[in-house]
């Protein structure tokens, strides 16, 4: 059973950028891809305990602000050392201009 949480307005995130979203004890990164789609991943890098929200989105990659490790935020796949462990991803839907995350996925 999905647990859709209203995270933000679609307009809150610039294209090719991300924001942080906290829900209870969980923290997420929500991305606005260049072609307009939205994605969500776990907020912290899998290398060290650093939030990705200060990182750089390049196309479909998120680069971690600490050591420049990269993930494909659509799949969570680790793409560049020092990250070796994939990032968890969460389903996203957009309704009425709002972005929802299934936080229990």
């Amino acid at each position: 059973m999905p647990n859709w949480i209203n995270a933000c307005a679609a307009g809150d995130i610039d294209a090719e950028d991300l924001i942080r979203f906290d829900h209870g004890i969980q923290t997420f990164a929500i991305y606005h891809a260049p072609e307009g789609d939205f994605y969500a991943t776990a907020g912290h890098c899998t290398h060290e305990n650093v939030h990705l929200c200060d990182g750089l989105v390049m196309g479909h990659l998120i680069e971690c602000p600490k050591h420049n490790g990269q993930f494909d935020y659509r799949t969570g796949e680790a793409k560049r050392a020092p990250v070796c462990v994939n990032l968890r991803t969460f389903p996203v839907k957009v309704e009425d201009g709002r972005v929802f995350i299934d936080v229990d996925a």
């Binding site: 950028d17 990182g55 050392a81 020092p82 070796c84």
Partner: protein, 359 residues
Amino acid sequence: MGKRDYNLLGPDAQRAVQTGLAAAQWYHSDVPRREMKELMQRSDGPAIRDTILLFAAMAVFAGLGIALWPSFWAIPFWLAYGVLYGSAMDSRWHECGHGTAFKTPWMNTAVYEIASFCMIRNSATWRWSHARHHTDTVIVGRDPEIAVMRPPVFIKVIANFVGLIDAATGLTRMVYNALGKVHPEEAVYIPTQEQYKVVRVARVSVAIYGVTIGLAVLTASILPLMVIGLPRLYGAWHHVMTGLLQHGGLADNVTDHRLNSRTVYMNRVSRFIYWNMNYHVEHHMFPMVPYHALPALHAKIKHDLPAPNQSIAQGFGEMWPALRRQLANEDYFIQRALPPTAQPYRNDFHAAALGSAAK
């Protein structure tokens, strides 16, 4: 704090973990997100220009050095070639290792591999050691890249101006790795699944040095080694000079790069060789900003940083006496004043680990 133990498996390493100094949250100057995004943007242009210039200059200087060999007229060309090989390659190794120099990943990788080889660094190992240097900058027992330990061993520092210690250590470790072994200290920060790369890189490097030495023996000349290998010694001085300034004489065991890193204004030639790493506080605070955007980042946050040193000479004038004082008092360090526009130092975050600051 007293006697420091820089061993990555030693008691200071454990203490750093227990006290929360390891993998801590570090101070950052405030930069609005939109401005930071601008600064972080990648491009290939500046690094392609600089790389063509670098390799062309190296080819010309080495060519003239070979053409004029063994006359004395060859010396200036070898000295120039040496600085580009033994020093400019250090900054190329660094920036391309971060993946920020070029926008195109393979370009970063290609230059990183060449530069690592020139610097006698295992490209697989050093990627991980440098990540640790950024996580735990100058945290004793955690940072594997501390250039001057306390108390300073001046003979080592001076020997490194001609690469003696670093090259010897690098070669010894290269041969060790080529034999299929990863040192226990390396295993601390290199994930198990990545360790095979260390051995592979070491074997390629050893093979290239083997061929070069073979050529030198065959031709009964050191000329092949003047091109590959020896410039790591006779051209090292510039990267050691600039590298010492990065953190020398400043605080250790702190979580604010304004306390442990130094920004120094430098001439254009040194900035080309060093690829703008003279903006060192800025680089550590925001490692995603490419070298070519560091002057712009500096302009944005300098109100929040200690005043930069005005030249290499002035930087040494500040650092060298502090290093000498650390001979007698390991806890001594320089704490630079912040401008009134800056956020104050939060020494309470790391007070227990700090010794006595210079006033």
